[in-house]
Amino acid sequence: MTRKELFDGVQDIFRDIFDEDDMVIEDKTSSDDIEDWDSLNHINLVSAIEKEFEIRFALGELMALKDVGAMIDLMIEKLK
């Protein structure tokens, strides 16, 4: 799976969770940019990503994720 494909999959999840069909995210998108991206929705996002890509994040890893780019990089790492 390419980074682009991963990115598109993650974007679909963002669109579902925040219910905005035309939402566009970028590498540098972070919780500061999306009003509803609070700690509880963060859990919902991560959980949906784990299910969709069949990966599992460890506790400490989640704390360190600053933006979408960091999240995708970590996913690439895990999918290797």
Partner: protein
Amino acid sequence: MEIYKKITALEYPLDVNIILRKKKSIKKYLLLQDNLIEKNIVILGGSTTSEVKNILELFLLNNGIKANFYESEYNKFYEDALFGNDILDKFNPDIVYIHTSNQNIIKYPGYKESESEIATLLSNEMQRYKSIWSSLFKFDCAIIQNNFDYTLDRSLGNLDSSDIHGKTYFINQLNSEFAKSSREIKNLYINDINYLSSYLGLKDWFDKSLWHQAKYALSLSAIPELAFSISKIINSISGKTKKCLVLDLDNTCWGGIIGDDGLGGIHIGTETAVAETFTSFQIYAKELKQRGITLAACSKNDFKNAKEGFEHPESILKFDDFTSFKANWDPKHQNIIDIAKEINIGIDSLVFIDDNPVERDIVFSQVPSVAVPDIGADVIQFIEHIDRNGYFEPISLLADDINRNQYYEDNKKRAVEQSTFKSYDEFLVSLDMTAEIKSFSSIYLDRITQLTNKTNQFNLTTKRYTTGEIDTITLSDEYIKVYGKLTDKYGSNGLVAVSIGRIENRTCHIDLWLMSCRVLKRDMEFAMLDELVNKCKDQDVSEIIGYYYKSSKNSMVSDLYEKFGFELTDANSEDTIWKLDIANYENKNKFIGVNND
């Protein structure tokens, strides 16, 4: 009428991923429905409840209930219940849901503690919940309380469930105390997460990582199942449970085709594995029947062949178990409409089980208010589709429910007699009817409350009451409140009619007037009116005001007050207001001997 399809992801088997990901768009869709009824629901959480609330909202909407929520702050369930706060005190809840779990147990037994010290721990833990429940009585609302799930880890291993120091043992005792309390306290209903967590598997139920990150006491994927379970209780409290199970016959009640294979050729009994699975299904249907669910048959068959199937010596169900039996070659949706008419219940009270997907489609598309679970073709799956969807979830086992089938069967006999009389009046005389029509008394609180919540057709205002409200009305002098029980030569029909009038300045306003459809056309409503007028005169009331509020189901009583001789005073919309001056009232009931206060 708006064409609106239920969301299948929200029915068994749940599509958990869709629910969690698409909850916002599902909610938008469900909010487009007409005729949503509103409920105020308080969630008191012993752990995080955010997603529990979001997902519960969907399940309720899918059943026509729009919830307004109040959520306690994190783990403030005890404080909110006992001490309240400004918002909660004004919220006026219909339902309080207490979302606690084993994480909220304050202290488990220590290994050195004696039996009596452990008994004290148990009693302390119980005392917390008992004070929560009694503090909530002031709201006159239903309380839904989780019992306790088991802990994932057991340092005592298998001994944990048998030694008095074990956590599992302690939890079992607490659960047994909760069950006891729910039998003693009106309006307290247990949400059995102990069962639910074992159904799902404890290791999938509890997510340690999610607990430490976000203080959710269950995994995200378990939340839809939890919300589903709560919604079943709320449906039941709101009188939305189904009443009648409609069964196809060939390859549903037995294996094979009775018309082709003959009585000796169908699979039922214990001879083979296939026969056994059909027998299991019949046993389940029989259990439902024994606790008051009505059975009906709907089969494309010659009547004689279909009936013969139940004469099989190993058949658990017998022909007489079916209150309505349709075996013919008419389209099934037509038969199903006839079944509802014959039994005299709403079409949305039916659940249709058929192994044939084409028949399911026809019924579902022609009469969408009938529940038609997508059961597949394998009988081994059928029970779970009925059971897990909670169509018949009861909140209590009232004698009246268990006897309901008897009433319907007696009604069949009455119908046979009716056809042999010259006039309807003559038939009514022959029934030797007597009624007990009296003011509410405490022994009937549950039955009266239940009737107010589930009677839809013969109900002028469709006003719903909680047990607490009925209790208050029973004790108040400002209300005239009468119930009616009707007996005839075939037996008792039970408590079937309820009227509540509120007195203000010599005027009686009829807030509620309802009657069970099982006694339609028996003149019971006239006997009730006579008693209401009597009581009005005793209290120096001079006129009675009746209200008809149109709902989707109560058109049969739109002209009731007219029949009663009331004058129409107001008809701005489909709702109407009626007035009766009682000075020259003459009794209307001619056929029922009345035993009053």
